[in-house]
Each structure stands twice: as structure tokens, then as C-alpha cells.
């Protein structure tokens, strides 16, 4: 943890301040424009107004029913953030992503808006399901990444097996470790594409290579860091290697690859 940042936060911290939703309502009201509906869970909206036992019973039923169906919302603002669900599964939300779960009713169904990395606790009798737009994903226990891409929704499987279908469709594709499929907007079934080496690197903080070709690894690093990398001699690019690198510093990764493989990697 960064002590300078922690020190600054501790100096100014006050509980109940910077309430984003309250501030948004104020800003909307001041500008005379109503807010877009937000899906945040609301507790205790039902109050018991009526006198008499019958009214109280009805209200109590409503409260129980509402709470059972209550959606709990998780949001990652600027940083990726991790949520552990009550079944032990964890969801790492990409910055800007939102997930909601009916914790009391079905903790193994997640509605997702944005990207996320799932590590699902194994439970044969209760499949874990995710919906994201028109995409439906069904698993028993595994690790996978759901992303929004230009064409639609995509799924990368890091471990285990996943059934990936369009909404209301029985047939889809079964993805295994290392496989990647895209459900294009409006399509009735996902299509398979060649997989990524480390689709969850942003969530795990790790690039892990097992007998990978240098050129494939460099392709991945170029996309992740948005740089252009060239290796010399060019013949070395088909060389294979294994190793794990932290996503923290591209310079460190380049340095490690150069020393281990005896090549020169230049970046633009």
C-alpha cells in the first residue's frame, strides 16, 4: 500500500462524505434535468403506514418478499475491485464495470455490465450463471473473463469449462481452457476465435507463459501496454519460453526476456 496516499486519505477521511448518488441527484436537480434511472438496491422503502394487524401483515410480507428479491449492486469505479460472493466465488470487476446479484435468492447468478474476471467456487448441484447483455454463460466451477468488445460480448476461459450461449438459446459453444468466443450483437450463437495467452492479466496482475512463442507473448504485451515491440534478431521471435511476470512494469518484463533469451527488444 502506498503510504503517501493512505496518509492523505486518513488525514481527511470522514464517514458518509462524498456520497456519489446523493451528489448526482443534487447536480441533476440544480441543472433541472432528472437523473437516468439507477439500479442501486434500496432498503426499507416500504414503511408500515396502516394501522391494524392486517395492514402490518401485508407490509411484513412485502418487506420479506422485497428483501428476498433485492438486488445488491457492486461497482468498480477507477480501480479494478474484487467481490467475494456468499458461495465463495470471486468476481474481479474491470474499471467502470457493474455487477448485480440477488444475494438472498440466488447468489450464483450475476448480471454484468462491463468486463469481469470470475473465479467460481465448484458446486456440482448449482450451476453458476452470468448474463451480460444478450450473452448467457453457465458453469460449474472455473475461471473465466467476460468482456465487452466492439462486436459484442466475449468470453475467455482460463480454467475449466464454460457453456456460452445467446439469451433464450439452448445451443452454444462449450469453451475449455485457453479458448475464446465472441457473441456478436444480434447473433444467435457465439463464434470461436483463437484464444489469448493471459486474458485475465489485468485482474490477476500476472502474465504466465508456458512454452509460449516469443512473438505471441510480444503480441499480447503490445496490446496490453499499447506499445509497439520489435525483437532482434527477427529469427528469435519463434523461440519458445516459460515464465511468470508481474504486470507492474513492462520495462522489467523486457529486461527479463532480453537477459533470459539473449535477444534485443525495442519499444516505440
Amino acid at each position: 500500500m502506498d503510504e503517501r496516499k493512505l496518509g492523505f486519505v486518513l488525514k481527511h477521511f470522514r464517514d458518509g462524505s462524498m456520497q456519489t448518488e446523493d451528489a448526482l441527484r443534487k447536480v441533476r436537480a440544480a441543472a433541472g434535468k432528472p437523473a437516468a434511472p439507477e439500479m442501486k438496491a434500496r432498503w426499507g422503502r416500504y414503511a408500515i403506514y396502516g394501522a391494524g394487524v392486517a395492514a402490518a401483515v401485508v407490509a411484513a410480507f412485502l418487506i420479506i418478499n422485497t428483501r428476498l428479491n433485492e438486488w445488491t449492486e457492486y461497482r468498480a469505479d477507477a480501480a479494478a475491485s474484487q467481490v467475494t460472493l456468499s458461495d465463495g466465488s470471486t468476481v474481479t470487476l474491470a474499471p467502470g464495470a457493474m455487477a448485480r446479484v440477488q444475494i438472498r435468492k440466488d447468489p450464483r447468478h450475476v448480471e454484468l455490465d462491463g468486463g469481469a474476471f470470475f473465479e467460481v467456487a465448484h458446486d456440482e448441484s448449482h450451476p453458476f450463471t452470468v448474463s451480460s447483455g444478450d450473452a448467457r454463460i453457465r458453469v460449474l466451477g472455473t475461471k473465466f473473463v467476460v468482456s465487452d468488445c466492439d462486436a459484442g460480448k466475449s468470453v475467455d476461459v482460463v480454467e475449466g469449462r464454460v457453456l456460452f450461449t445467446a439469451a433464450d438459446k439452448e445451443d452454444g459453444v462449450i469453451l475449455k481452457k485457453g479458448m475464446f468466443a465472441v457473441l456478436e450483437d444480434g447473433a444467435t450463437a457465439p463464434e470461436l476465435h483463437s484464444g489469448h495467452l493471459n486474458p485475465a492479466a489485468w485482474a490477476t496482475g500476472l502474465f504466465s507463459y508456458d512454452d509460449a512463442r516469443l512473438c505471441d507473448a510480444l503480441d499480447e504485451l503490445e496490446g496490453y501496454y499499447n506499445v509497439s515491440l520489435t525483437v532482434s534478431p527477427a529469427s528469435a521471435s519463434t523461440q519458445t519460453f516459460s515464465g511468470k511476470f508481474s504486470t507492474g512494469s513492462l520495462d522489467d518484463i523486457i529486461y527479463a526476456l532480453e537477459s533470459a533469451l539473449g535477444v534485443k527488444i525495442s519499444r516505440q
Binding site: 500500500m1 503517501r4 496518509g7 486519505v9 462524505s17 462524498m18 456519489t20 448526482l24 441543472a31 504486470t247
Partner: protein, 168 residues
């Protein structure tokens, strides 16, 4: 349709940027209420703009917040207009980039159970020893130690180094 989509993207920007911008402003003004007011005023001025008038919303907001924050400082502390952190003056870029990680720490702190947060703040902000905290709160030193390690692991679990800055 178009208007409701604009509304939604405004709200998304607000939810994503409100806290980092408040903390960015806080680096300048050192006063949480003033920082929140400044950021809200900037979002109100953004809403008053026509569609497409602001091309880069995060950059627009950053500049607007900085201008209002320095205006505020000229009124209350005209001798020094630089942003500050816990250990002294920092640059404007540092204030912006720190604010993302700080927003994440703030949120993690906010989610701690109240007692655990109180113990953590007494220890890390007020510099009290475990024994002092225990006697002040009438609990055992072992409880203080347990609460501290739970607080630290909750704060450490957030991947602070991973925040994505969209201003650069």
C-alpha cells in the same frame, strides 16, 4: 432516445469520476466540503453545455475543477496555490494520479466495520499504540491486534497499483 443515452453517459461519468475529482480538488483546497461543492459545480456547468460541445469530458472536468479550486484558494490562502499531499507540496499531475488510488483506499476504509475502522484510524492516523487503543476503548490488546490485521488485509486486498487513469 438520444437524450436518455446522453443522460446515461453523464451519470456513468459522474459515478466514475466524482470521487477521484473530489480528492483531486481536496489536494488543492484541503477542505472536504469545499472540494465536494467545487466538483458538483463543475458537473452542473458540464450539464449546461450542449451535446457534443465538450469533446474530452474527463479533461474538461479536470481543468474546470483545477480552476475553481485555485479561485477558492485565492480567496482563503492567496500566498500558496499548489496542491498538497500528506507529506508536502506535490505537482498537479501527481495530485490527479494519486487521487484514483486514494479514492480506492477511501472506499476500502469506508467499507470496514465501524469499530475496525476506528481502531485503524487511532493507530495509523493518531499514532496510538495497541495498548493505548485497548485501554481507551476498554477492549483487549489481542482484539486490537486482530482488528488491525483484518483492517490491513482488507485495505491491502484492493489492487491499488492497478487503477486506470483516463486523464493521461
Amino acid at each position: 432516445m438520444g437524450a436518455s443515452r446522453d443522460n446515461k453517459s453523464f451519470d456513468d461519468n459522474f459515478r466514475r469520476l466524482f470521487r477521484p475529482l473530489c480528492i483531486y480538488a481536496l489536494h488543492y483546497v484541503g477542505d472536504l466540503d469545499a472540494a465536494e461543492d467545487i466538483v458538483q459545480e463543475c458537473f452542473i456547468s458540464l450539464l449546461a453545455k450542449g451535446p457534443g460541445e465538450v469533446a474530452d469530458i474527463p479533461s474538461y472536468l479536470r481543468a474546470a475543477v483545477r480552476n475553481r479550486a485555485t479561485d477558492h484558494l485565492r480567496r482563503v490562502r492567496p500566498d500558496r496555490l499548489d496542491p498538497e499531499s500528506a507529506d508536502g507540496i506535490i505537482s498537479d499531475d501527481e495530485a490527479m494520479s494519486d487521487s484514483y488510488g486514494e479514492a480506492a483506499i477511501w472506499e476500502a476504509l469506508e467499507r470496514l466495520p465501524e469499530k475496525r475502522r476506528q481502531i485503524f484510524i487511532m493507530s495509523r492516523r493518531d499514532g496510538m499504540s495497541h495498548e493505548e487503543i485497548a485501554s481507551e476503548l476498554g477492549i483487549s490488546v489481542r482484539t486490537v491486534k486482530n482488528q488491525m490485521s483484518l483492517a490491513l488485509s482488507a485495505l491491502g486486498r484492493k489492487k491499488f497499483s492497478k487503477f486506470v487513469s483516463i486523464f493521461f
